[in-house]
Amino acid sequence: MNEAQTILDDSLSRFFADSIDREYLTRLEEISWDDALWSRCIEQGLGLVLVSETQGGMGGSWLEAFIVARACGRYAVPLPIPEQILAGWLTETAGLAPRAGVAGILPEVIATAAVAGDRATFTAERVPWGRHAEHFIGLTTDSELVVLDRANTKAITEANLAREPRDKISFEATPILARAKVALPASGVRWLGALLRSAQIAGAATACLELSVKYTSEREQFGRALSQFQAIQQQLAELAGAMASVDTIAMAACLALDERGLASAGRDAKFEIASAKCRASEAVEPITRISHQVHGAIGFTYEYDLQFLTRRLWSWRAEFGANGEWGEYLGQVALQEGGDNLWRYLTA
């Protein structure tokens, strides 16, 4: 990270730490949306990290997107900022003008037939904050980006374990606001969503480690701080490793995406992205297990912060594909390349 990126990271930490606490997260789980915080994030340009400056964005790279998404994970930000970043990037990559308002990202590929003509008719599952979206963005089987209105839509509200909205949206002859071919695989949203969730997992894992270190240093049993016990120290060490492993590969994937894109003829960023989400999803198990273990019963209560993180981690593990799915992709790549080429592949 360069100096500007470090400053971004630090200022995000301060901003979210000041804005978000336990009471706030508790309230947001009930009301699911906070216009005030959303507006402040948008004013700071957090939704337009990847949009070029000429279009009014921050003109950042995927490394900046990583920094923002990781901070969102670390502070359990209950708003679709990573999704908004993705929407901005997709829109500009497709050559369309950026669109104001909350974007609903459609995780699954849209059948081309469902958006034939100027109206869309289909149902989209697990749309993050779908009920609050002012327009929707998705990719078709033909790699066409479509922007859909919110008129003529119905939302069936659902949520993930952290009570983040994951709604079922039915489009019923919904007007198509814009469309354009993009140079991305049809599953582009899944790849990029997986990348952003990996960054969020790295962030939430960071916060789990911070909480675990702080709590075990303060809590005393048998006349001394828990952190003085070797059994606890060893678990914290393992937790730190799991976090660092995810953090490193997620960042590497963002940089690979900046350098090689997602649809180059040669080696693109797919290997790194798949590695990031595979590692991140797999690491959720030790990260959540250890954090809870060292906290004892307090960590199992709704009144303590840890659960805001771990319930997100358990959900994000599966969102945009769990470790099994991404591992399978990587396994296929490895077998195709063959053992002798694995090292070349890793060092390319």
Binding site: V213, E325, G327
Partner: protein
């Protein structure tokens, strides 16, 4: 207080001008190792082949960072990193010069007397010096500072009595760097220790007795010192500063790519064996290992980059070793879960079976040598501020 920066691994991009070196090393290895079986390659940095070490030295790829005036090549730590990760990934037999190249050479360059540097560094750079590490003793393993082997100052040098154990290659090495007690009166066990550079051929009274490891091979030794008289200039560095020096030495052991590449041949063999017959679950599991390898390489590289920039990534290095060890030790078990072929001894079964048989047996040592996993995690805990 937890300092997150000491747990972050900034991305490190190799300067493009290192690419030709990597290509050269690959070409050399492809030729040299053409007839090496996968089993032989799976010994990695445990594989002993003085001839190979000499050839690598002739190419200028041993003692790369040592100063030119002592036969070294004055090259950067990054250039050395490229060579080391290439030889390890290929499973080249680097064991003969490994310790000299990784830690003894740099230590002598930093702490040695002019005479020590002039006699020994050139041999190291030629790949001809084999070093043993004399730290552990029968009653001093993890509690290394409790070592008792004594070096007593006498008129014509130092008189050494005691026993070292688990000393890898002491029966073949030219030199040993030993941690010895020079002052027993000190109330702190960490004080009163000094390091000595011992010419194993020249000094009498040192007898290595090979100890067979569980694979049946004899790589490590019990080394007894009976009135062994070291010359006065055998002292390495400063008297009484042995503990500090040894801690710096062990940091070399933690920071390299060998910490995740000692099972790499098994991973590549497993991939080839699975080809054409992998279930979705098998693909997912092998893919997860590949993701581990990708993550570890990025982390290892980052540590190399930080060292190169003059930073102190000691916590990050310990984290990589811990994760690398976990990755390596799990692999043989995973292989047996995915493929029905039994592990085999040399001479029976297919290559994959022999490699598996070898690494199943070697794997327990990965979390022992150079300091155990428990001790390593204690170091990490200290870095986290809880110790």
């Amino acid at each position: 207080m937890l300092n997150l920066n000491s747990l972050r691994f900034p991305r490190f991009e190799f300067p493009a001008d290192l690419a030709p070196l990597r290509a050269e090393v690959r070409e050399f290895l492809a030729q040299e190792l053409e007839h090496y079986s996968p089993l032989v390659r799976s010994y990695s940095w445990d594989g002993i082949d003085p001839e190979f070490s000499r050839k690598l030295g002739a190419r200028g790829w041993v003692g790369m960072t040592l100063p030119k005036e002592y036969g070294g090549h004055g090259r950067s730590a990054l250039e050395r990193y490229v060579v080391v990760e290439e030889v390890l990934a290929a499973g080249a037999p680097v064991g003969y010069h490994w310790v000299a190249d990784r830690q003894s050479g740099p230590m002598i360059a930093r702490l040695g007397t002019e005479a020590q540097k002039q006699t020994i560094l050139p041999a190291i750079a030629r790949g001809e010096a084999c070093f043993a590490i004399g730290m552990s003793e029968p009653n001093s393993g993890s509690d290394l500072a409790s070592v008792k082997t004594r070096a007593e100052r006498v008129a014509d040098g130092w008189l050494v009595n005691g026993t070292k154990i688990w000393t890898t290659l002491a029966h073949r090495a030219n030199y040993m760097i030993a941690l010895l007690r020079t002052d027993s009166s000190s109330d702190s066990k960490h004080r009163g220790l000094s390091q000595f550079l011992i010419d194993l051929r020249a000094v009498k009274g040192i007898s290595p007795r090979p100890i067979r490891d569980l694979t049946g091979r004899g790589h490590f030794n019990e080394v007894s010192f009976v009135d062994a008289l070291l010359p006065p200039d055998a002292l390495l560095g400063n008297e009484g500063e042995g503990w500090k020096q040894v801690m710096a030495e062990l940091a070399f052991e933690r920071s390299g790519p060998e910490r995740y590449l000692s099972c790499f041949v098994l991973l590549t063999q497993l991939i080839d064996v699975l080809k054409g017959r992998a279930s979705a679950t098998a693909l997912a599991k092998i893919g997860a290992e590949v993701a581990w390898a990708a993550s570890l390489r990025n982390m290892s590289l980052s540590v190399a980059g930080m060292l190169n920039a003059g930073l102190d990534p000691s916590l990050q290095a310990s984290v990589v070793k811990d994760l690398g060890c976990h990755f390596e030790q799990r692999l043989p078990g995973l292989a047996q879960e995915l493929v029905a072929l039994e592990p085999a001894l040399a001479g029976s079964g297919v290559d994959y079976q022999q490699v598996l048989g070898n690494l199943i047996q070697l794997a327990p040592s990965f979390s022992l040598r150079g300091g155990t996993l428990e001790i390593l995690r204690g170091i990490i805990a200290r870095g986290l501020g809880v110790r």
